[in-house]
């Protein structure tokens, strides 16, 4: 039962959609569903600290039950990720099941399974969108973060999709200090495959927390990125993730607010529901789809989401002239850098975030998720950013995410 608090403000009539979003929706618009924590890669900045499968993963039947619920809730589409979703043996079945039950699928992949046959299958399937993750326009820049061989894997998948006549597939880039100078090259690369470019913000989530200081764009780079988006952003998607840059001037297209628990949420591989895929932490855990009432009950009635759907205090930020443009930035970025949620974003373009970071208690540790599914040993195609030696790929055909790991 939902307790209706008499003091909760009434939802306004009409007005801007952005105001309606703050009060919540009957179903999420941009629901993310991480199908597995297993992954063939070990990217240094992985938002979900993926690598090893969690033994409590939802079964095929449980996943189908979630899809049935999403259909009843009339969710338009679901964003499937992981880990690497295609390493689940039932991935292709679940894809067809979703599409067959009126739920579109957009999935994010490193391309490992997208051979010619799968590319052709996808090109024939309606209501499915694909995006290939790539974090460098060259193998050198990309593989430092995603692992040796990952650039080749991704571009091979892009070539297969292009040859199969797939429409509207995307390349998705996490913008870092190392690749922000390659934006034009990314555009050229994606154009060459007939794909669309997406660039998204790097958050200090998951393993990203360990490399954020080193990899997040500098203030100067943020200004360059903003200028690039204004000049070249037509046709470049941003995942609505750069709204904190809107405080630099003209607002970027998209919804300029944090949608966690209001417009978006995450279903993780074990059925836990978090406010956002960048907030996998018990503070943002709303419930589990295995609980009575399933996902719908969590989305509509959880305490956490009710809190997020009451008007948020912008705190100190409300006094800033740019608050309406940036709305205080990204909740996950603040949380995982140890900043208060009612204060500036760590990358606040006015510099208030840097001030806040410097003011943090140096003895306090920043929050860490209770979950870490990272590979525990070296992985074939190890990222080299952190100076670890690359492990040579010995068995190309061995695709098991557990390959190469010491037992226990």
């Amino acid at each position: 039962m939902t307790a209706v608090l008499p003091s909760r403000p009434e939802r306004p009539v009409g007005g801007r959609l952005i105001d309606q979003f703050e009060y919540g929706l009957d179903a999420p618009i941009c629901l993310t569903w991480e199908l597995t924590y297993a992954c063939n890669l070990a990217c240094v900045h992985c938002l979900s600290s993926s690598g090893r499968r969690d033994p409590r993963e939802l079964s095929t039947a449980e996943a189908e039950a979630v899809i049935d619920e999403l259909q009843r809730m009339q969710v338009f589409y679901v964003n499937v990720g992981g880990g690497e979703p295609t390493v689940r043996p039932d991935f292709w079945h679940l894809l067809d099941y979703a599409v067959g039950h009126d739920v579109g699928v957009k999935f994010s992949t490193n391309g490992i399974k997208l051979d010619r046959a799968r590319a052709e299958q996808l090109a024939r399937t309606d209501y499915v969108d694909v995006q290939i993750s790539l974090d460098g326009a060259t193998a050198e820049v990309n593989d430092a973060v995603r692992g040796t061989g990952s650039f080749v894997t991704a571009t091979r998948a892009l070539a297969n999709l292009a040859e199969a006549g797939m429409k509207d597939f995307k390349v998705s880039v996490v913008v870092t200090r190392e690749n922000v100078g390659q934006l034009d090259d990314f555009k050229a690369l994606t154009d060459s495959y007939g794909a669309q470019l997406r660039i998204t913000r790097f958050r200090p989530s998951g393993r990203g927390a360990d490399v954020w200081d080193r990899l997040h764009p500098t203030q100067q780079q943020q200004r360059e990125l903003y200028a690039w988006l204004l000049a070249n952003g037509d046709g470049v998607l941003t995942g609505d993730s750069f709204f904190h840059l809107s405080a630099l001037g003209e607002s970027l297209p998209g919804l300029n607010l944090c949608g966690a628990g209001r417009v978006v949420c995450l279903i993780d591989p074990v059925g836990d529901v978090y406010a956002c895929p960048f907030a996998i932490h018990e503070n943002f855990l709303a419930g589990n789809v295995r609980d009575e009432g399933g996902f719908q009950r969590v989305w509509r009635s959880s305490e956490l989401f009710a809190e997020l759907r009451s008007p948020q205090t912008g705190g100190a930020c409300t006094k800033c002239a740019h608050f309406d443009a940036c709305r205080g930035g990204c909740m996950a970025a603040k949380f995982f850098t140890g900043l208060p949620l009612d204060g500036p974003d760590p990358e606040c373009v006015q510099g208030y975030g840097e001030t806040a970071l410097a003011a943090r208690d140096s003895a306090a540790t920043t929050p860490r998720s209770h979950l870490d599914h990272s590979h525990t040993g070296p992985v074939r195609g190890q990222p080299t950013l952190l100076g670890m030696p690359a492990v040579p790929i010995v068995k190309i055909c061995d695709e098991s995410p557990l390959a190469g790991l010491a037992p226990g």
Partner: protein, 91 residues
């Protein structure tokens, strides 16, 4: 009248569009062009869903909307036509 929108022919919600009621009206998602629109009143949702049952869009509006508001609803349908959320039907 917005050029391109003829309210005196038969219309219907586009077949590639899903419409989901919300407390504030509805969200409409076009699976073909991936655009999302926000319909700000329940009355507009009712008009859109009833288009297929009327000989013209104008008739659908006249059936469901008080006279003083009809221009706003005509404009709303023109907006929806422009983003292909509604389409002309053959009969």
């Amino acid at each position: 009248m917005t050029p391109g929108f003829d309210p005196d022919v038969p219309w219907q919600r586009a077949r590639s569009v899903a419409l989901r009621p919300e407390p504030f009206g509805a969200l409409a998602y076009h699976f073909g062009n991936r655009t999302l629109s926000f319909l700000k009143s329940q009355t507009l949702v009712t008009v859109v869903e009833s288009l297929a049952e009327h000989p013209t869009a104008r008739a659908a509006i006249e059936a469901g909307v008080p006279e003083g508001q009809r221009p706003a609803y005509l404009k709303a349908l023109a907006d929806l036509a422009r983003t292909q959320m509604i389409e002309v039907r053959s009969s």
